[in-house]
């Protein structure tokens, strides 16, 4: 790794740590938010947003040149609450009001939140809606804008995803990038014990997608992958399969197949954040 890349990754590491903490704090304020599903996304979102791969103008929400980001696995989006506040979509103190009456930050994000494009959380919709946006952008001759759809692996059991995957492959939608947060767990069990998804990259390839497989917690690997995907012309839709760990950084979650619905106590949160008073 050269020096500038090393410095960049160092900054990203600091940012990722800050986001990890913010995500846990958000969960502490609103325990009904899904923490484990959000923690598997921290590095993916860090590398995506803080390397400049997502074009945006927080002060101009409907800017035509913005990249469309759809977080289809809405349960895992609370990390994005902190990113959007950090980028200036809304004041940082909004994060203090998550889950409270009058706040726009709920347990699952909706498009009342500045920076969110679609209704999320009802699983299996984002990829198809994103493909429709991609067709619209193509019709408008907007070739510089990407549609980035983040899906979970459990979500891929929804058949509508594969209707959309076939569609994107057939129409060679090179403005679509699908990132799979492959954290290997759904609600009740590991996904390979529910309905196995492997070989997942081969499945997307068979549907006509170019696929990448990456360590979803390695900021350098994610940055390399995003560099190849976003900085060079694409021939068709791209799927990035990011291998992740659900509940990353929280041992009691990482080891629990039921961690999706696990809520951390205030004591557990204080311990994780090093804020315990012995």
């Amino acid at each position: 790794m050269n020096k500038s890349k090393s410095v960049m990754c160092g900054k990203l590491t600091v940012k990722a740590r800050w986001l990890w903490e913010q995500t846990i704090r958000l969960h502490g304020r609103a325990p009904e938010t899904r923490l484990a599903s959000s923690l598997s996304l921290v590095e993916i979102l860090t590398a995506l947003y803080y390397n400049g791969y997502v074009k945006s103008k927080p002060a101009e929400l409907n800017w035509e040149g913005r990249d469309r980001v759809i977080i289809s696995k809405g349960h895992g989006a609370i990390t994005l609450y902190a990113i959007l506040a950090d980028l200036g979509y809304y004041p940082m103190n909004e994060l203090e009001r998550v889950g409270q009456q009058g706040s726009f930050l709920g347990g699952i994000p909706d498009p009342i939140i500045p920076g969110f494009e679609t209704v999320n959380g009802s699983l299996g919709h984002g990829l198809g809606v994103g493909c429709g946006m991609a067709c619209g952008l193509r019709q408008k001759d907007n070739t510089s804008t990407s549609v980035v759809v983040i899906v979970g692996d459990g979500e891929l059991h929804e058949g509508a995803n594969w209707e959309a995957a076939m569609f994107a492959g057939h129409h060679r939608l090179n403005n679509v990038v699908c990132i799979v947060d492959f954290n290997k767990k759904a609600m009740l069990d590991n996904t390979d014990k529910i309905i196995g998804l492997e070989p997942l990259d081969a499945k997307f390839s068979a549907f006509g997608w170019d696929t990448f497989r990456v360590d979803g917690h390695n900021l350098a690997a994610l940055t390399d992958c995003f560099e190849r995907v976003f900085k060079y012309p694409r021939k068709g839709p791209v799927a990035i399969i990011a291998d992740t760990i659900k509940g990353r950084g929280v041992p009691v979650m990482e080891s629990d197949p039921l961690c999706h619905v696990r809520t951390l106590s205030k004591k557990e949160i204080a311990e994780l954040l090093g804020e315990t008073r012995d």
């Binding site: 909706d110 498009p111 009342i112 494009e117 679609t118 209704v119 009802s122 299996g124 919709h125 990829l127 198809g128 809606v129 994103g130 493909c131 429709g132 946006m133 991609a134 067709c135 619209g136 952008l137 019709q139 408008k140 058949g159 509508a160 209707e163 959309a164 076939m166 569609f167």
Partner: protein
Amino acid sequence: MCEHFLKRKSPNCWEKPVTDRPAKRMRDMFLQGVLEEMNAATDIFFVTADFGSPVLDNIREQHPDRFLNVGIAEQNLINISTGLALEGFRVFAYAIAPFITMRCLEQTRTNLCVLASVKPLSVCLVGVGAGMSYDVSGPTHQALEDISIMRSLPNMAVFSPADAECSHDLAKHVSRRKGASYVRLDGKALPPIYQANERLDWNRGFNVLRKGTSASLVSTGYMTHKAMETADILTKKNKRISVVDVYSLNHLNAVAFADCIKDAGPVITLEEGFTGRGGLDCLIMNAIKGRTITALGLLPEYRFDIGNRDDLLKLHGLDANTIAEKVLQTAVH
């Protein structure tokens, strides 16, 4: 409000039955209207779930860049349409009625109705095969629940035209309308009720086709034809029957409707769908609270009767003679 009806410029078809004009399919006239709108504007997409018609061939030949066939995939039909709408396009999504209303209901609810609360969208779902118009295809292809289901959705307009003539105008109306809408079109060629290219007040939602005081038949879609037939039978028995065609099922002007039939005798609703499940009968019951209505339609059950449409309607007591008998039981003077 009845003056609206009385002052209509076009002649009333029951006085001068229009027999010289051929039966037409609603979808052909509706799609012709869509084609004309697409010819005039570049921001309209047409998306189909592998369902066609001769006029649709013109659309896809003349506008290949704005025509998409998603295949037999109604969920994706709605999702693709949503994405196009979010990019500022007006979208027509086209499929068979029971499938476009039920196979992808959650996509419609979430991505059209919920999203339309905060984002400007213009998406029209066009379903062909209202009621039992796909008669011999059986219960999978018949749409007997679609009105109740689609009426239950906030941010969803529901239009149910009675003939091909007004369907042309309906295409123009929905293409310029903001929000989500569902248009249920009959699958059969039907004789005209309205004048060629007649323009209806879609926001008012109903039209009085015949005025009388013995009883009021309130109907939608194909059943408006049955209502007219029934009224003809009863006229011969010296009854004067009102026939009201209701074509906007979520935006009926209830005040105008109630005013229009206040002196028109007992009210009988006629629908080619399940009764007591939130369809036309429920709409009318709410529009004229306090008045008793007789709801004629199908019992909520699935049947595998084989036959043409009129055979099937007869099995359900929805042929004109049986309806006339039931009306006589409630009619006054």
